[in-house]
């Protein structure tokens, strides 16, 4: 099951410059593990041992996963996952 993941500019150095990548998994945790396999280093930018890092927002379609089931949020074919910095820089 392929899910589209949108990558923000500061993380594109890890995804060969791609702003959108495909990942497999049945929930966000599996998606992130799959991403880590293809793009090493990505996981630690997104998660710490407590879950999603406080300044990282992950959206399933237009919903922040913090308000769903966090890393256990189930994803289905055709979903779009977006990684969005919680802040907008300078």
């Amino acid at each position: 099951m392929a899910i589209t993941v949108r990558i923000p500019t500061p993380l594109r150095t890890l995804t060969e410059g791609k702003d959108e990548v495909e990942a497999k998994g049945s929930n966000i945790r599996e998606i992130i593990d799959d991403l880590e396999g293809n793009y090493p280093g990505l996981k630690e930018r997104l998660c710490d041992d407590k879950g999603v890092r406080r300044f990282v927002n992950i959206y399933q379609n237009e919903e922040d996963i913090r308000f769903l089931d966090s890393l256990d949020t189930a994803v289905k074919d055709g979903d779009s996952i977006s990684i969005v910095p919680a802040i907008a820089g300078g």
């Binding site: 890092r53 406080r54 300044f55 907008a88 820089g89």
Partner: protein, 308 residues
């Protein structure tokens, strides 16, 4: 430094901010005085009042900003709030390009002053806002005055003429170290230049987010960003990377232990200042409180939906 000044215009309330000695978070380094310059006491609630007003004053003085033009700039918030206030007070129109993931509060505050908001792609961050602003200027150069806080020498000049001078007046010859975070780099560049003019060497430290994707709003990770033209990496005596969590935790401590509720960039500045304090053991460190914590983005239920 009186907060009960009588003044004729809101623009007169910019600057002359208090300098506060931190007593609790500095418990491990009793022989180092650590001071925080409370820039959030500016009318717009942030350090950005200084460059915004300086940019406008200098441009009005030499005719670049006129009443038939619209001041345009890319900003994630604080500079935009400041332009909005002084645009309203001085009678100039303002339009701002902001990434659409800036907090609703920022959007509401700026719009309260009649400012026009132009949203840019949230995935592109502040660099996306800069690119969109440049496109708009290219399309209609006559319509706008491009304030360009990242390139405008009036930005660091505000701190050379203001912040740096005030710090020297407030702590006198005591200061040994100055710590400031890098965003546009205006605060760090201008203040450092003034402090380096001082008769005795003052060691100036630039704090930067440790990672490209970070949560220190207002700060820039230079290696992965459009580098501001006003930024001279050789000017600071030292560069110090600070992690987002360290900055956030320090912001929490400042609220709980000192009664100062500040934004995360201030947390990072103070974290940096305390690292310096631990290292030197004796001296006087000054850093900047950029803005208040209540202006902060938090993922709140009523803000959870984004329009892409």
């Amino acid at each position: 430094m009186s907060r009960s000044r009588r003044m004729g215009s809101i623009v007169d309330a910019v600057g002359n901010t208090p300098l506060l000695r931190l007593r609790k978070v500095t418990a491990d380094t009793p022989d180092v005085k650590v001071y925080l310059k409370l820039e959030y006491t500016n009318p717009g609630g942030s350090v950005k009042d200084r460059p915004a007003l300086q940019i406008m004053r200098d441009a009005i003085a030499d005719g670049r900003l006129t009443k038939d033009k619209i001041l345009l700039d890319a900003t994630s918030g604080n500079t935009g709030v400041a332009y909005s206030i002084y645009g309203a007070a001085l009678g100039y129109r303002v339009a701002l390009v902001m990434p659409s993931n800036v907090s609703q509060a920022r959007k509401d505050i700026t719009q309260a002053f009649g400012t026009e908001l132009i949203p840019s792609d949230p995935m592109e961050g502040s660099d996306g806002a800069i690119r969109l602003a440049r496109e708009l200027i290219e399309e209609e150069p006559e319509k706008y005055f491009y304030a360009d806080q990242y390139r405008n020498p009036s930005n660091p000049r505000a701190h050379y003429l203001g912040t740096g001078v005030e710090i020297l007046e407030q702590v006198g010859d005591e200061i040994t170290h100055f710590v400031a975070g890098l965003g546009t780099s205006g605060t760090c560049m201008g203040t450092t230049r003034r402090l380096h003019d001082h008769s005795r060497p003052i060691h100036c430290v630039a704090v930067e987010p440790a990672e490209a994707m970070h949560g220190l709003e207002g700060m820039k990770h230079m290696a992965s960003s459009i580098v501001p033209e006003i930024y001279d990496p050789k000017l600071p005596d030292e560069h110090m990377p600070v992690g987002t969590e360290d900055g956030w935790d320090m912001a929490d401590r400042l609220a709980e232990e000192e009664g100062i509720h500040v934004g995360h960039s201030t947390g990072a500045n103070v974290f940096g200042a305390l690292e310096v304090a631990k290292r030197i053991g004796k001296g006087c460190v000054v850093t900047i409180a950029c803005d208040r914590g209540d202006r902060y983005f938090a993922p709140m239920r009523w803000e959870k939906h984004y329009e892409w």
